[in-house]
Amino acid sequence: MRDMLLGVSGLRHSRSEEPEEKVTAREFVKGNEALALGALKAGLNAYFAYPITPSSEIPETLAREFKSPQYPDFKVFLQSSSELEAINMVIGAAATGAKAMTATSGPGFSLKQEGLSYAASMEIPLLVVDVNRGGPGLGNLGPEQSDYYQSTKGGGHGGYRNIVLAPNSVQEMATFPSLGFSLAFKYRNPAIILADAFLGQLKEDTTYPPIAEEKFDTPWATTGARGETRHVLVSLHLDFDDQSRHVEHLLKKYEEMAREEQRAELYMTGDADVVVVAFGIVSRLVKQAVNALRAKGVRAGMLRPITLSPFPSRYISDLVSKGVKRFVVVELNTGQMVYDVKLAAENGVVERLNRWGGILPSSSEIVAKVEMTSA
């Protein structure tokens, strides 16, 4: 144990001594650490921290890299007194046009919902990472995907949508912060990265994108009035017509996001009769299962939603129109995304396989489920 700890800190030291060589080198790192470094490569300006297992390596990594000459744009790392304080600090920082983020896990993600509702209404782009653990309540520290509803359906009050990205590898943990910020600023909308305890703690080979030069236009940012031109970010619209127009404006934006930003990975779906739908870490098991099914002569494929919101329904309706008759939705919850698949699949048969409490299905269980529904 002692060796392991020393090993990790030793690696860090060598990083700061030779920063340039390490930027694009392959590294064997935890998902949480990859996400933190990926955020830095994405030009992160401000991180507001509150610790919660299994996400704490994210603030720990960023605390370590804070003030590193490698990341001159990383101006603020601050630990807050609560999840609520952290998300509201993110809102304040983001309101000035900064790339600001925080990370948490389920119990903390619940506390973020207040801020997310305000940020959605005021159209403040920001990034929140949820390393989903078992739930509800304190639950446990194992992987679940049970925050799917909360993240994709607008978990706070009043009805709104987040952009939600679901990585399935440590590599994607490293690259999705950049995508998250891009989409958040493009649409002036909160973005969520929905990972899980498995991805957060998993170690894999990872390369990082080069440091982003991307600077976003933020003419709305509250950085001081210029003459009589003011920047005013409000979520209160007491006049019914005003509020109605505001909601309509948001709705149009969500519709545009749904038109433009659906992302998914398709695997062996070209001639598939049955398609397994799974996001995040589960998709890795599904891929194995699809390979095994193909070896047995079953024409199976996989659809992996990458954007959970907007949900890639177009991919599903395309598959239906190409002759896919059955979908099997595999999730680490009691069944949440399955309803989005059902909506998109219309008359297609939608089966499900669910595991929860921190337990993952084995790929042979997935194979068995697909074979059973094919029989």
Binding site: S82, L84, G92, T96, R230
Partner: protein
């Protein structure tokens, strides 16, 4: 009628009519409410310090939620109680800006007490003006943490029983007990009735004006500043404006004694 510059030697009188930091929108505040006075004092200070184009007001939830409609500066609305956290986020990224909020006692001392205490303990360079009128104003007169024993509110119809509901929380004393904050002051803001019921003392608003300027100066010097304004709420106290001023002077000012609770930078002596 507003006296012209030639006629008046009172700087405030002259300037109040044409402040760059004030919009032309009439306020929604009830007659006799100190929020309107404070809004003008803030606008005056912003003009005096020439910080309008780098100031952000964080609207907090309560009667000051429309502060941006009257103050001609950049603005963002915070959730109930969260203004100090939003301001901390702004200032950490952009220390060149000036951030302030007008918070009510429900907002700052109940739902937002944690955000307030931690911002103060970190000595965030932000400014909070607390309007303490001992009651929830905008929601219609419910008990606040500052409501004195015996006061009738809509949630304490028999009068507040502090043995049952807890005793008052004195925000200025609480913050002054922390090592962090640079400036903590309590001001009696209302015009106070003098012996003759037709005459009032303007000492409160004048002291308020000085304190608002000082609070911004503390922020500009890098410190956390907090000014609590003992105020009235005649509507929710169910009193005439005149009686509310009397009650504030005779009862509230004794529970919440005005004074300089902390001035680490010695700003008042400069």
């Amino acid at each position: 009628m507003m006296p012209s510059q030639e006629e008046s030697t009172n700087e405030y009188e002259v300037r109040l009519g044409k402040l760059a930091a004030l919009t032309s929108k009439p306020t929604h505040y009830c007659s006799g409410c100190e929020h309107g006075i404070l809004t003008k004092l803030i606008a005056n200070a912003i003009d005096e310090l020439e910080i309008r184009e780098r100031t952000v007001v964080v609207d907090s939830v309560g009667c000051s939620v429309f502060a941006h409609e009257y103050l001609n500066v950049d603005a963002i609305q915070a959730a109930h109680g969260r203004a100090p956290a939003v301001m901390a986020g702004i200032k950490r990224v952009r220390p060149d800006l000036v951030a302030f909020a007008v918070q009510g006692d429900g907002d700052a001392v109940a739902i937002g007490l944690q955000e307030l205490i931690y911002a103060a303990s970190r000595n965030e360079p932000i400014t909070i003006f607390l309007v303490n009128n001992a009651i929830y104003g905008m929601t219609g007169g419910q008990m606040a943490p500052t409501t004195p024993e015996g006061m009738i509110t809509t949630t304490t119809p028999e009068g507040r029983d502090t043995a049952y509901t807890g005793t008052i929380i004195d925000a200025s004393k609480l913050l002054a007990g922390l090592d962090g904050p640079s400036y903590v002051k309590r001001v009696f803001l209302p015009v106070a009735p003098l012996k003759s019921r037709d005459l009032y003392s303007a000492a409160g608003p004048l002291e308020g004006a000085r304190s608002v300027v000082n609070a911004f100066k503390v922020q500009l010097a890098g410190g956390f500043s907090f000014v609590e304004f003992v105020s009235t709420c005649s509507i929710n106290w169910k009193m005439s404006v005149l009686d509310s001023k009397k009650y504030a002077a005779e009862v509230l000012a004794k529970i919440y004694p005005p004074g300089l609770y902390k001035d680490k930078l010695g700003i008042e002596k400069r």
